[in-house]
């Protein structure tokens, strides 16, 4: 159970990454925990890394916290830029777009719902939409937003549950054979068309399906 959400201390980006990387190795994870001192850390370091990003988003939303944004930027902006370059943008365009994506993340912080998406997932959707706009020069039709009522905060249990599902899905994907993971990457980096996705028999939808199924149940629950 996470209880440190509202009291999570500021954490340097490099410290965060260390913790993320060693998440599954028990021995080093003890060290990582010592390093960050009194913070409440779950048994699985990577889980709480995700929750930390959720907290960063809340600080950006509620207090326009530039320190939180700076850490989020340090971790995700180079990832967004790498993603855009893989999708066919040149370095200049990718830089410009990555800045716009991160600015949008700030400006739309109030739209982020941690019972429905991890911060990484949410940033991915912003980056994807920007890619469609800039690289494919198309509009991206989005579904009608679900209404949550005024200022409704999601239940903490739903948030923790969904964030954990995201982590387990990440692990499931990392455990996939290289060729299958590459195929998923290609699909998401725009190298496979929709008909190629439909025909890609090696696409391990089945393998990640059980994890997706659980994430799906969480989402269905969150949408009730």
């Amino acid at each position: 159970m996470f209880i440190g959400l509202d009291t999570a201390p500021k954490l340097s980006v490099s410290g965060h990454q260390t913790q993320y990387r060693v998440g599954s190795e028990a021995a080093t994870s003890v060290q990582a925990r010592k390093k960050v001192g009194s913070r409440n850390v779950s048994k699985d370091g990577a889980d709480s890394a995700r929750m930390q990003w959720v907290d960063h988003m809340r600080r950006i939303r509620d207090a326009q916290d530039k320190a939180a944004f700076s850490e989020l930027f340090g971790h995700f902006a180079p990832r967004v830029k790498g993603f855009l370059i893989k999708s066919g943008a040149d370095a200049g365009l990718a830089e410009e777009c990555a800045q716009e994506v991160m600015a949008t993340v700030w400006l739309k912080a109030h739209m982020f719902d941690p019972s429905r998406a991890s911060v990484a997932t949410w940033i991915f959707t912003v980056a994807r939409n920007r890619r469609i706009d800039i690289l494919r020069k198309q509009r991206r039709p989005e579904p009608e937003e679900m209404t949550w009522g005024p200022q409704a905060e999601p239940e903490q249990d739903d948030v923790v549950g969904l964030q954990q599902e995201c982590e387990l899905l990440s692990k499931a994907m990392q455990d996939l054979p290289e060729a299958q993971r590459e195929l998923i990457q290609k699909a998401y980096f725009g190298e496979l068309s929709h008909s190629e996705i439909a025909q890609a028999t090696g696409l391990p939808l089945g393998t990640i399906k059980s994890r997706l199924r659980l994430a799906l149940d969480r989402l269905r629950h969150a949408m009730k």
Partner: protein, 218 residues
């Protein structure tokens, strides 16, 4: 959101929507269906989770940001140059919100063109890889018998239609590929309005429909 939807989108379509690789016209249909269907919304969002996992993958090749990029981003935020989507429309009795954006309003805003036998259509402006059109089929009327060269998806927005296999009501999606020849007939009780998307011209089986095809641009 209380639609009783029986015919849903397929996993590969939802994944491609989430990956952002569908042609715009198909994305429009997906967004319209998902606005009416919580099950497909949840599934689409679970595919977004796959994208998030890839973005946060420790093996992803990152690309260092330019010097001063954080400050540049903070001034982007401060000076209001980023264009955010305007407050989206609300789904009405016929058109889901994303469709209203393309039509420029509700049913009354559609610029229908008659195509014979009381059938009307309006082609929506999307990228050229695929075509999205609204179809108006009078109650009880049949669409010309046609097969498909590519993929065709039809989302029912009002009324319903029956083809050889099944009945499709508001919110249902019929997905047809090159194997399917069908003659949908609109429900007798109400005029039918659909959003139909194709990535290749339809093949009509009779001579007259072939001529009509030129006018229909389908």
């Amino acid at each position: 959101m209380a639609e009783k939807i029986k015919h849903h989108l397929t996993p590969d379509i939802l994944m491609a929507y989430s990956a952002g690789t569908l042609p715009e016209a198909f994305s429009l249909l997906v967004a319209a269906h998902v606005s009416l269907c919580d099950a497909c919304r949840a599934e689409a969002e679970s595919y977004d989770t796959v994208g998030g996992a890839l973005l946060d993958d420790q093996n992803l090749e990152t690309e260092a940001m330019a010097a001063g990029s954080l400050d540049a981003t903070l001034s982007l935020i401060a000076d209001g140059r980023i264009e955010l989507p305007k407050t989206p429309a609300k789904t009405d009795a016929t058109f889901p919100a994303p469709l209203q954006d393309y039509v420029g309003g509700g049913v009354s805003a559609v610029k229908w063109k008659p195509v014979g036998m009381g059938v009307k259509q309006a082609i929506l402006k999307t990228s050229s890889e695929a075509t999205a059109r609204l179809l108006f089929i009078p109650a009880g009327a049949a669409m010309p018998d046609h097969g498909h060269n590519g993929l065709e998806m039809t989302l029912v927005l009002q009324g319903g239609f029956q083809d050889e296999d099944d009945y499709f009501a508001r919110g249902d999606v019929e997905i047809a590929d090159s194997d399917l020849h069908h003659t949908p007939v609109a429900d007798i009780h109400e005029d039918c309005i659909c959003l139909a998307v194709t990535d290749a011209p339809l093949k009509f089986t009779g001579l007259l429909p072939k001529l009509a095809q030129r006018f229909l641009q389908i």
